[in-house]
């Protein structure tokens, strides 16, 4: 279907079902119950899941296929956000021109940075991209924000003001990002018994775009171009002596992944019309590297899983506080309860990075292929167990 083989089609269908039903899947606990804090099905977080999913899918096209580790991909995210907000300021709150411009500007930006950075490989490439991203951050944070020429609005962040031109804005349109009048923030709440589910326009826009981008990524992975990118990772020497020029291949991969990042940045601005320089900082670049490796670099679904995993931790684990811990351990005797809370305390709330760090180490050491490898091993183990018990039965039968 759609030019994919059976396996990829079923993967795409699974991803489609999961994203479309996310409001249900992510809200398994009744609202108001003690477990409700583990519900992730609110619009803000669901939007972040899919937006960072797009970011990581794009990053994986570069890192997973060619092995070039960019430490500056957040620059494209930031550029995308700024472009989108500028479209809001100049044209209107419609998200279509905003998203389109963010992709185009990110592509041009990636072409420039990639052309220079790809002259080197390995650690030197990583450092060059990091340097470019930090320069972009500095530009956005201060240089391009002065009274004469204010492109980024410095540390306040770029936002839409009442006196902005917005030449296509009409009074009948919502005063926030919208798709031809359909506000990104409009949410339909469905209450079933004790459960409550949110269906948000912004989320579904991002989800549909993510599915399209995921589909494109599958096509790229399975195409001759994708095979050449894997060849770049495997043996550039052989490639050169096989009449192939690795440079344009890596540059094309870099620009494509930059466009994915720009799209993610544009969508972030479309969900919340604000763009700040911190979006370009090196920690944001590092985050997408973590997502990709945690999920499984070079696999199709890995980066999406990694993005969801990290965003879930960031938003859910960071919200657990000592009061909640006391509730959990309340069945224990007082002294032991306090002791348990004392032990767990550093790993929750603001300490969620610690938990994430430990998980990341465990994954990298024991599952170098990321969560996807974990899933495969689990699947193999279950299958082998099934087989072995089957074999035991057949062996047993003749004896009877």
């Amino acid at each position: 279907m759609l030019g994919l083989d059976k396996k990829d089609t079923s993967l795409l269908i699974i991803v489609a079902i999961l994203t479309l039903l996310a409001p249900f899947i992510l809200n398994p606990f009744p609202a108001g119950s003690a477990m409700a804090q583990f519900n992730a099905g609110y619009p803000d977080l669901m939007q972040r899941f899919v937006i960072f999913g797009i970011f990581a899918i794009g990053f994986n096209i570069l890192f997973g296929l060619t092995g070039y580790l960019s430490f500056g991909h957040a620059a494209f995210l930031g550029v995308g956000s700024y472009s989108a907000v500028w479209m809001f300021k100049l044209l209107s709150y419609n998200v279509i021109p905003a998203i389109a411009l963010s992709v185009v500007v990110a592509a041009l930006f990636a072409l420039l940075i990639g052309y220079v950075s790809l002259r080197r490989s390995g650690i030197y490439f990583s450092i060059l991209t990091l340097a470019f991203a930090q320069m972009s951050f500095a530009l956005a944070y201060s240089v391009l924000s002065n009274p004469k020429f204010n492109l980024t609005n410095g540390e306040t962040g770029l936002q839409v003001y009442a006196d902005d031109p917005q030449i296509f804005h009409r009074d009948s349109l919502p005063d926030m990002p919208h798709l031809f009048g359909l506000s990104m923030r409009s949410t339909y709440k469905l209450d079933i018994g004790a459960w409550s589910f949110d269906f948000n326009v912004g989320y579904y826009l991002c989800a549909v775009i993510m599915m399209v981008m995921f589909y494109l990524a599958i096509r790229i992975f399975r195409s001759p171009f994708g095979m050449m990118l894997r060849a770049v990772k495997s043996n550039q020497q052989r490639m050169n002596y096989t009449g192939l020029n690795p440079r344009p291949y890596t540059l094309a991969a870099f620009v494509i992944s930059g466009m994915y990042a720009g799209l993610a940045g544009g969508l972030m601005a479309a969900m919340d019309p604000l763009a700040g320089a911190e979006r370009m900082q090196w920690t944001a670049s590092g985050e997408v590297v973590l997502m990709t490796i945690l999920g499984g670099a070079g696999t199709l679904i890995g980066p999406v899983l990694g993005a969801g995993f990290i965003k879930y931790f960031e938003n859910i684990f960071s919200k657990i506080n000592d009061t909640i811990l006391h509730q959990w351990f309340s069945f224990l005797p007082d002294g032991i309860e306090d002791f348990m809370v004392f032990i767990v305390h550093p790993f929750i709330g603001k300490g969620w990075h610690l938990t994430l760090g430990i998980l990341f180490m465990l994954v990298v050491i024991f599952l170098p292929g990321g969560l996807v490898e974990g899933g495969q091993r689990l699947g193999n183990w279950l299958r082998n167990r099934g087989k072995r018990s089957g074999e035991a039965k057949t062996k047993h039968e003749p004896a009877e």
Binding site: M227, N240, Y241, L244, N245
Partner: protein, 251 residues
């Protein structure tokens, strides 16, 4: 006029004159061996032919066109394929994919943004690659990771990859180095078969005299960066200068 004409080529690395005044002419459709003791400049010469090194002086002409200053991939697209001393293949890719990459390079050139159709839909390339795998007698291994194969198989795959580009000149850099006797003989047979079945010029750098004398029609002896003699294998065997420079060591 040979298909490959090397004229007065010199190359210096710091204080070492690796090549000086090298003249070499490889005639079309022959097997030409370049031999010489260690450090004679054989590999330097080869690297000058494929664009890895640029000689300080002289000219290298392939089929009437200069190769100097061109990148390795451009020289390859002109029709020169190179087999390395240790097999250079795409270890992370399957054997079939390995064979398809040179077929794509042949069909689409040095770069083609062919990002949407699936590889499996490129029937012409798949067929071509399968055909070559069959010729190399490794079609049954097509789904294997190339890195998992034995050294002899890797060598055969690499030669097959070069051949699938239908090069006019095949350069082999010690193709049997580090191989067991049986594998060496297999490689000799394979090269003989290749030569019989197609119009191809082969230039081979080799240490193993058994390989050289079983394959070569012309031999150039290189010593201390200059060609000593060029002649037929029969004449080379008894040549006093060669004995002195090369065979003399072991005799």
């Amino acid at each position: 006029m040979g298909i490959l004409e090397v004229k007065n080529v010199g190359k210096r690395f710091g204080g070492l004159q690796a090549l000086s005044d090298v003249n070499l002419s490889v005639a079309e459709n022959t097997v030409h061996a370049i031999i010489g003791p260690n450090g004679a400049g054989k590999s330097t010469l080869l690297n000058c032919l494929v664009g890895k090194l640029i000689p300080d002086s002289g000219s290298v002409m392939f089929d009437g066109q200069s190769v100097l200053g061109r990148a390795p991939y451009e020289i390859n697209q002109m029709g020169i394929s190179r087999v390395f001393q240790t097999p250079e293949i795409f270890g992370d890719l399957t054997v079939l994919e390995n064979m398809m990459i040179p077929c794509f390079a042949k069909r689409d050139g040095a770069f083609e943004l062919n990002a949407l159709p699936a590889v499996s839909q490129q029937k012409d390339v798949v067929d071509q690659a399968m055909h070559m795998l069959e010729e190399m007698r490794m079609a049954d291994k097509r789904h294997m990771h190339a890195a998992a194969m034995s050294r002899g198989d890797k060598r055969r795959l690499e030669i097959g990859m070069c051949l699938s580009q239908e090069p006019r000149l095949l350069l082999l850099d010690e193709p049997t180095a580090g191989m067991a006797r049986a594998d060496t003989n297999n490689t000799i047979d394979l090269l003989k078969q290749i030569k019989q079945e197609r119009d191809i010029t082969i230039a081979i750098i080799e240490h193993d005299m058994h390989v050289v004398f079983s394959l070569a029609e012309r031999i150039t002896v290189l010593a201390q960066g200059t060609p000593l003699v060029e002649d037929t294998p029969e004449n080379i065997k008894g040549h006093p200068k060669v004995r002195e420079a090369y065979l003399g060591e072991s005799a």
